[in-house]
């Protein structure tokens, strides 16, 4: 079982696919849940405080706007934690979106910089492409080690 970061980072479909193939999805939903349910009154509803954009400095320079850095404070550690990644390009907003084009660009870039198995696929435009899309993702997930021992080999 490996930790797979998905892009878009909040795609329910991708997250579900990763889980069905026996791996752990690293998705925004879980991180946001942590944020929302952790007791704090600083900055509702997400409890993002002025500290987060500072933490985001690890991933983007000070000149990059605070909103990008605040998002990177959540996404950056997800990328660091990942052992594999699935990136879906050209997807419609409803499939998942971070709401910020600059964060999207930086997130994809940082994922690509990691030395780990990465699958990049385009969002399907029809039924045939959709089957192919799921098949490719399935094959990729099957190729990942199932347990830690296998991963070490």
């Amino acid at each position: 079982m490996v930790k797979v970061i998905i892009y878009p980072t909040n795609s329910l479909i991708l997250s579900d696919l990763v889980e069905r193939f026996g791996h752990t999805p690293i998705a925004m939903m879980a991180k946001i849940k942590e944020k929302v349910s952790t007791v704090g009154v600083d900055s509702p509803p997400l409890n993002i405080t002025p500290e987060e954009p500072k933490m985001g400095l690890k991933y983007a320079a000070v000149e990059v706007p605070a909103g990008v850095r605040g998002r990177m404070a959540i996404v950056g550690p997800m990328i660091d934690e990942a052992e594999a990644a699935i990136i879906v390009n050209e997807s419609p907003m409803a499939f998942g979106c971070m709401g910020c084009a600059r964060t999207n660009e930086l997130t994809k870039f940082l994922i690509r910089q990691r030395d780990m198995p990465i699958l990049e696929v385009d969002y399907p435009k029809g039924d045939d492409e959709a089957r192919e899309f799921v098949y490719k993702i399935g094959e990729f997930l099957k190729s990942l080690p199932k347990d830690e021992k296998e991963g070490e080999e």
């Binding site: 500072k54 400095l57 983007a60 320079a61 000070v62 000149e63 990059v64 706007p65 990008v68 084009a101 600059r102 660009e105 930086l106 994809k108 870039f109 690509r112 910089q113």
Partner: protein
């Protein structure tokens, strides 16, 4: 002379031609005998470079930036240095500029500087940076010098203080440290003090180097062999004094007016930043804090070490607001110890937020400049970065020592 050869600097930019600053860029290049060149690329690569580089920027000119960086790294463009620049406040450019800078630094040993401009950027603002870039490209042999030989002098004419040292065979035999009032008079006073301490006469000095804001004036006055900006001089001085001339190091110089963060490899700077948004992030703020607390600047460090910065909320992003929060916290009954600690932490936090993202911090981290003597500063920096901070002996004389060291290259000539 070989040293005077034109340095080819690749301009990797996004629209500086449209921003009204191009004349200034050309002018600063010319003033340091450099020529801006545009790395050739295949136009069709602009459609694929985003994917290839990994960063799919929406702006085609930013893709052009990546393609040009690739041409530099692959040696298609034969250049000696790279100047990466884009508009201030463009979020996408800030992301691309940083990644392009890292990419060139990782895949080549060509010196790189990056800068974000506004329409008010002038050649004078860029001079020290461009001078450092061309020096690294042009004078590698000089920067490779690891030992001081003969009897040499170095004068660092800084914005707040002027420092002078006399060195003989790798030892500091005399030093002077005076506040900068009139540039030449202060330099003369510091120099005379150093000469007196060393027990030598001016005419005995075999070579001299000058650095700092007043370097040109002081250098011409004393007929110095070496007149050099403070980025290369201070990084050289820092690794020399710290005994870390081989391998990687990061030098942070907190000056009286601005700060420098420099990545150094084998004593030669690779990436560096200079600046700070406001004097709130410089030694000047600490000076003002000491005055407000009614103590001498030399006492501030010991006071800060006894305090807890967490107890005082202070943000010296702007020196005026910084002083305001200092006054407010004292009025609320905060102890001078806590306020002193908060002031040190605030300066260090500004350096972390504004500058350290621009260089890759690699250990050892060497802290130099007058502020490094304020014990609270290295302590705060170490706490913030969670790494050991090295303050070499004579860290306040760094520019003068670097100048004396480098100028000894002219003794043998």
């Amino acid at each position: 002379m070989k040293e005077e050869a034109v340095v080819k600097v690749a301009l990797v930019s996004c629209g500086s031609e449209y921003a009204g600053v191009h004349g200034e860029l050309e002018s600063v290049a010319e003033s340091v005998n450099a020529r801006l060149v545009y790395p050739e690329i295949d136009v069709s690569s602009l459609d694929t470079i985003g994917k290839e580089f990994g960063l799919e920027a929406a702006s085609p000119d930013l893709r052009l930036m990546m393609a040009r960086a690739k041409a530099v790294v692959e040696g298609i463009a034969d250049v000696d240095g790279v100047f990466i620049t884009s508009c201030f406040r463009c979020a996408e450019a800030a992301i691309v500029r940083n990644e392009v800078r890292r990419y060139i630094h990782r895949h080549s040993d060509i010196p790189v500087i990056s800068y974000s401009f506004t329409e008010r950027t002038t050649a004078a603002t860029l001079l020290t940076r461009m001078e450092a870039l061309t020096t690294i490209a042009r004078r590698r042999h000089l920067l490779a010098r690891e030992h001081q030989s003969g009897l040499t002098a170095g004068i660092d004419s800084g914005s707040t203080t002027t420092k002078a040292v006399i060195m003989k065979d790798d030892k500091i035999i005399g030093s002077g440290w005076v506040p900068t009032i009139k540039v030449i008079e202060s330099a003369t006073e510091a120099f005379d003090h150093a000469l007196e301490e060393a027990g030598v006469k001016r005419e005995d000095i075999q070579a001299m180097g000058t650095t700092g804001y007043g370097r040109f004036l002081v250098g011409e006055h004393f007929n110095a062999q070496l007149i050099q900006e403070e980025i290369t001089v201070n990084s050289k001085g820092a690794v020399y004094l710290a005994g870390k001339q081989k391998g990687s190091a990061t030098v942070i110089d907190i000056g009286g007016m601005d700060n420098k963060a420099i990545s150094v490899e084998d004593g030669i700077p690779g990436m560096f930043t200079m600046g700070g948004i406001c004097a709130g992030a410089s030694g000047r703020f600490l000076d003002m804090t000491a005055k407000r607390l009614g103590i001498d600047i030399t006492e501030l460090g010991a006071l800060a070490v006894k305090g807890m910065q967490e107890k005082v909320s202070m943000n010296s992003y702007c020196i005026v607001f910084g002083i305001q929060s200092l006054v407010n916290s004292l009025a609320k009954g905060s102890t001078p110890e806590d306020v002193a600690a908060a002031a040190c932490y605030s300066v260090v936090e500004q350096i972390y937020e504004q500058q350290l993202q621009e260089v890759d911090v690699k250990e050892p981290l060497i802290l130099v400049g007058g502020s490094s003597l304020i014990e609270g500063v290295p302590k705060a920096l170490s706490e913030l970065l969670k790494i050991k901070v090295l303050v070499p002996p004579n860290s306040h004389l760094i520019g003068a020592v670097g100048s004396a060291l480098l100028s000894s290259g002219y003794v043998e000539e």
